[in-house]
Symmetry: C2
Subunit: 317 residues, 2 copies
């Protein structure tokens, strides 16, 4: 069984892309050609909506699969549609795995150890009882919230070791209010740096053949100096970088996310890719009728922008 | 529409109980008389397990309903069984509402605002699309993680105002590693006190007729002085107190959780009630055969212990 991080680096190099496509579908942005038939069949809002999401996700996966190796599913947009939505979540994961993509479950869970064990089995492992075994939502990696500290993370680490999975712990998020807790100064440092030190410690015995750990960090490129400092506190951690595109992140802000080898970060865009047809700069050119062309052009453009960044990083070093 | 906190105080007074029963069922602790028939019917582990949990929860609800007004469901133990488990979660909520109990969804979500909106609709609100409306998992209140700050909480506040719901924000949790982040000192205070100040601010325009806010806090009684300080920082917040029973909390540690009116806190026990038959002090007396008697005796005993605490609080003031 290969560990998560070596699979990840392998995918990044094979596809020539450190982009992550975020499958965060919202009904009011799914093209009519998918929404209309989904809502013409029987079923209430949740059932029909989940049908639309499943169909949309499959088409998006087919479109982006030649260009990226990693998807991220924000589970909130599936929970929104209840058990139907979570069936769409599970079905999308299964489809993505069939297409040989790595899937990150953006779940941001965090709870006391006994409860964290249940979450870890649900999202990374296999439930077992009386000789039976079955997985609930097994993805390749999950995001976690560190507010409860080590004993909320350790059950996930155990599961990651057992099944070759990965974790991305929230260190510094992209939202404006992230400063309220994450940037509080303590002694000579700030809270998110303390979390970064914990991430480095948690990941030190899960380092793969390329020097990266299966325990990574969510780091938003809010500030060049903050990212530089986090990069040096966690040299072996892969960064999952949110906020590209729709949340306003720009390619030049990413430069300190990467290491000298041009690796060390994957960058997510969700609405910027899957809803490209309705957004600048693709809106005029494509529109809803050509939404598939917009998805493809958006991911190709993102790959190109990120390649320019990693090229600059390698040249700088 | 009555606000959440007035409904809560009303339940506490009508039942004469500030106990919360935590429905955190785990298959290996569910009595054989429920497990065996559930697994004899068709279906895999997740489907059969969810059937056992649903049946067990209904029986527990019938047993505790005369004695308590509030249940808490830890969603991790349902996610563990995938979409089947989440159907058990939804079915249990529906059954509890039919029995006129308040239900807290212990979900500890926390995400950027756009995503927090989706979670808030999923767990407190109603999904809407093209004139259709349907709820996914509507409970009366949820727990939230504050690591992302205000903009991760505000969508839940909006939903709570719209639908008369409540929130309990994690301030200080019961696990040993909670010190790592929550107890970091900043300037003249510590992180969990900063969160307490935010909770007080978020809740100040949601105060009901008894002086309490629909925005409460999760506060573990780890230390008498810590709790006293949190009580004074958040005088209007109802505390949801975890860790009673199975996690080692004792009645005398709770004294500072309450205000002078004997109100201000609800106290959760999960395994200590639902698995009482297998635990001290009920194990010898009951055993699995009389698991129902053990549940009832355990909740009656807990109510009595907590009444002694609130009596002492009122006498002290």
């Amino acid at each position: 069984m290969e560990n998560f991080i070596d699979q990840l680096v392998d995918k990044v190099e094979k596809k020539g892309s450190c982009s992550v496509v975020g499958l965060d579908p919202q009904l009011d942005s799914i093209p009519d050609e998918i929404i209309n038939p989904a809502f013409q069949k029987k079923g209430g809002l949740l059932e029909s909506g989940a049908r639309a999401i499943t169909d949309f996700n499959r088409q998006v996966i087919d479109l982006v699969q030649p260009h990226v190796g990693v998807l991220k599913l924000q589970i909130a947009f599936y929970e929104l549609l209840g058990i139907w939505g979570l069936k769409a979540y599970a079905d999308t994961i299964a489809y993505a795995k069939k297409k040989e993509l790595l899937v990150i479950g953006d779940i941001k869970r965090g709870d006391v150890s006994h409860t964290a064990e249940a979450y870890a089995v649900a999202h990374l492992g296999v439930a077992e009882f009386r000789g039976m075994r079955e997985s609930a939502f097994a993805v390749d990696a999950v995001t976690l919230n560190p507010y409860l500290g080590s004993d909320s993370i350790l059950p996930f680490i155990k599961m990651a070791k057992q099944y070759g999975k990965g974790l991305f712990v929230l260190v510094k998020t992209s939202n404006p209010s992230s400063i309220e807790i994450q940037d509080l100064s303590y002694e000579k440092s700030v809270v998110h740096q303390k979390v970064a030190e914990l991430v480095a410690a948690w990941g030190k015995d899960m380092i793969g053949k390329r020097g990266y750990s299966s325990i990574g960090a969510v780091v938003a490129p809010t500030n060049l100096e903050t990212v530089r400092s986090l990069r040096s506190l966690m040299p072996n951690a892969y960064f999952l970088v949110p906020g590209y595109g729709a949340q306003g992140g720009r390619a030049e802000d990413l430069i300190n996310c990467f290491n000298e080898d041009g690796l060390g970060a994957i960058v997510n865009s969700s609405r910027g890719i899957i809803n490209a047809y309705a957004r600048e700069p693709w809106k005029e050119k494509f529109g809803m009728k050509h939404w598939q062309d917009a998805v493809e052009e958006a991911i190709v453009a993102m790959n190109k922008e990120l390649k320019a960044v990693t090229k600059k990083v390698r040249e700088r070093s």
